[in-house]
C-alpha cells in the first residue's frame, strides 16, 4: 500500500502510478458536482457550450457541501463525499469528453464507468464517507460557485484544497476494482452459507 501526495492537476504519469489500495492526498483546485450538475455538464457538452470552469484533465468531487456565509464569501463547514452511483449513467461520457483524471466520491461506480476509467486512465478515489468535518478542514477556500440556480448543494463549487484525504484508490487505471472484488466475494460467501 503506497502513499502519495499529488498536486492538482494530476499528470497522466502520476495517475498511472496509483494502484488499488494506495492512499492519496491532493493539493490544488477541484470542482464539486452532484446529480443535477452532471446532467447539465452533459447538456453543455452535447450543445457544444463552454463549461463555466475548466474541468478538462481535472478532478470531479461528488459532493454537496454545507457552507456558511462569511462576509462576502463562503466558508465550507462540512464537505464529505456523496454516493457516486447516482450519477453513474452520466460518467462514461463525461470522463471521455473531459479526459477526467480522477473521480472522488464514495461507494464506487458501475462497470461501464470503470471501463471508461481504464480506457481514459482515470482513477476512482474514495474519501471516507460521512467525514464532512474532516474534509472541510482540508478545504482552504472557495474560489467560485457556478450554477447555484440548481440549489446550493447541487452547484459547482470550485474549491482550493490542501492535503485533501485520506483518499483510497478504489478503481485504478488498469481496471482493477476493489468494490467489485469485495461484492463478488460477499455474494460467494452468502451462497456458501
Amino acid at each position: 500500500m503506497g502513499e502519495f501526495t499529488l498536486s492538482l492537476p494530476i499528470s497522466g504519469k502520476d495517475v498511472r502510478k496509483l494502484k488499488v489500495g494506495d492512499v492519496v492526498y491532493l493539493t490544488g483546485v477541484l470542482v464539486t458536482a452532484r446529480d443535477r450538475a452532471h446532467h447539465r455538464i452533459l447538456r453543455f457538452l452535447s450543445e457544444g457550450k463552454k463549461l463555466p470552469v475548466r474541468m478538462e484533465e481535472g478532478v470531479i468531487y461528488h459532493c454537496g457541501p454545507l457552507a456558511r456565509k462569511e462576509g462576502s464569501g463562503w466558508k465550507i463547514v462540512s464537505a464529505g463525499p456523496t454516493t457516486s452511483e447516482r450519477v453513474d449513467a452520466f460518467l462514461p461520457q463525461i470522463i471521455r469528453a473531459l479526459r477526467v483524471r480522477a473521480v472522488v466520491g464514495k461507494g464506487g461506480v458501475r462497470r461501464k464507468t470503470a471501463e471508461a476509467m481504464r480506457e481514459m486512465r482515470c482513477v476512482y478515489l474514495a474519501f471516507p464517507g460521512g467525514c464532512g468535518a474532516l474534509a472541510a478542514q482540508r478545504v482552504k477556500g472557495v474560489k467560485r460557485i457556478y450554477w447555484s440556480d440548481l440549489g446550493l448543494p447541487e452547484a459547482l463549487w470550485v474549491l482550493e484544497v490542501e492535503d485533501f484525504g485520506p483518499l483510497f484508490v478504489g478503481i485504478d487505471t488498469k481496471g482493477k476494482n476493489r468494490y467489485e472484488e469485495v461484492k463478488r466475494e460477499a455474494v460467494r460467501r452468502l451462497r456458501s452459507r
Binding site: 464514495k106 471516507p128 464517507g129 464532512g132 468535518a133 472541510a136
Partner: protein
C-alpha cells in the same frame, strides 16, 4: 403547575437539531471505537480512524459531522397527562428553519418532482412529524432522527411467502446489505421490521433504529435473530466504506408485529455510521 409552552418546545427542538447534527450519540461512538479495535484490514482501519477523527473535530468545533444533515424526522411521545399548550409541528418547523439559517443543517429538502429547493429544509411533509401517545405520563418526549439519504436510499421492502420463514427474512436482509455495498457509508446499523402491513413494516424498521445499540430485544428469539444477522452481515466482508474488512455492521435491531396469515412483510432500513439521533423529555417549566 404551569403548562409546557411553545417557547419551551421550540428551544428543545432547536437544541436537538444542533446536537444531533454535531455530535454522535455515546452508544454509537462506543461501537465505532470497538470497530476500530476489531478491524484487521488496513484500509478499513484507516477509514474508521478518519471517522473517529471526524467525530472529535465536529464535536470540538460544533460543526455538522456530515454535510448531508439528512431529512429531519420528529417523534413526539406525548403523555396523556401532560399539560401541553404548544403546537408541536409549528415548533419543529421553526427550529428547522433556524438551524438551517445558522448552518447546522444543509438545505437538502426539495420538491419531489420539480426538484425546486426552497433553501429552508421546509416543505409539505418536512420535517416529518409523528405523534405517539404515552399512557398515564405527564411529560412529552421529543425524539429526533436526522436521516441521511445515502443510507435511506438503500431501504427495501418485500412481502415474503410465509413458508420462507426466518431463513427467508435473513436472506432478504443479507441481499439488501450486499446490494448497498459501500453506498450507505458502512459500518452500518440495520433496522428491520417484520410483520404488520407494508407501511407498518417500514415504520417498524425505522423505529428499530431508535433503540440504543448496546441493548438487545427483550424477546429472546428476536434477540437471537439480531445476533445471528449481525454475525452474518459481518461475514460478508464488505467492510468500512465497502472497501473490504471485518466490520460492516455495528448493530442490528429488529422490531415485529403480528401480521395476516397470508403475509410475511419485511422492511429494511439502513442507517449509516453517522446515526444522528437525539431525544429530550419535557416537563412543565420549573419541574425536572
Amino acid at each position: 403547575m404551569s403548562p409546557i409552552t411553545q417557547a419551551q418546545v421550540e428551544r428543545a427542538c432547536f437544541e436537538l437539531l444542533k446536537s444531533a447534527s454535531t455530535r454522535l450519540p455515546p452508544d454509537v461512538e462506543r461501537a465505532l471505537r470497538r470497530a476500530f479495535e476489531e478491524e484487521t484490514s488496513e484500509t478499513g482501519k484507516m477509514n474508521l480512524q478518519a471517522i473517529l477523527e471526524n467525530v472529535r473535530l465536529a464535536k470540538r468545533q460544533c460543526i455538522p459531522l456530515c454535510q448531508d444533515t439528512g431529512t429531519p424526522i420528529f417523534y413526539f411521545r406525548i403523555g396523556t397527562k401532560a399539560d401541553l399548550r404548544a403546537d408541536l409541528e409549528r415548533a419543529a418547523r421553526k427550529a428547522v428553519r433556524d438551524a438551517t439559517r445558522l448552518g447546522f443543517l444543509r438545505p437538502s429538502i426539495v420538491h419531489p418532482i420539480t426538484r425546486e429547493n426552497p433553501g429552508t429544509n421546509l416543505g409539505r411533509g418536512v420535517p416529518w412529524v409523528s405523534y405517539v401517545p404515552l399512557r398515564e405520563k405527564d411529560w412529552v418526549e421529543v425524539v429526533l432522527l436526522l436521516k441521511g439519504s445515502g443510507s435511506e436510499n438503500m431501504s427495501r421492502f418485500t412481502v415474503l411467502d410465509p413458508a420462507l420463514g426466518v431463513e427467508g427474512v435473513k436472506k432478504f436482509v443479507l441481499e439488501t446489505v450486499i446490494a448497498a455495498g459501500g453506498k450507505p457509508c458502512p459500518p452500518i446499523i440495520v433496522g428491520i421490521g417484520i410483520g404488520g402491513t407494508s407501511d407498518g413494516a417500514m415504520n417498524l424498521a425505522k423505529l428499530a433504529l431508535l433503540r440504543p445499540l448496546g441493548e438487545s430485544h427483550p424477546d429472546g428469539s428476536i434477540a437471537r435473530l439480531e445476533r445471528e444477522l449481525m454475525e452474518a452481515i459481518n461475514e460478508t466482508g464488505i467492510g468500512p466504506m465497502g472497501l473490504g474488512g471485518k466490520v460492516t455492521c455495528i448493530g442490528v435491531k429488529v422490531e415485529y408485529a403480528y401480521t395476516h396469515t397470508a403475509s410475511l412483510p419485511v422492511g429494511v432500513n439502513i442507517q449509516c455510521w453517522a446515526a444522528r439521533k437525539a431525544s429530550v423529555r419535557l416537563r412543565s417549566e420549573g419541574r425536572r
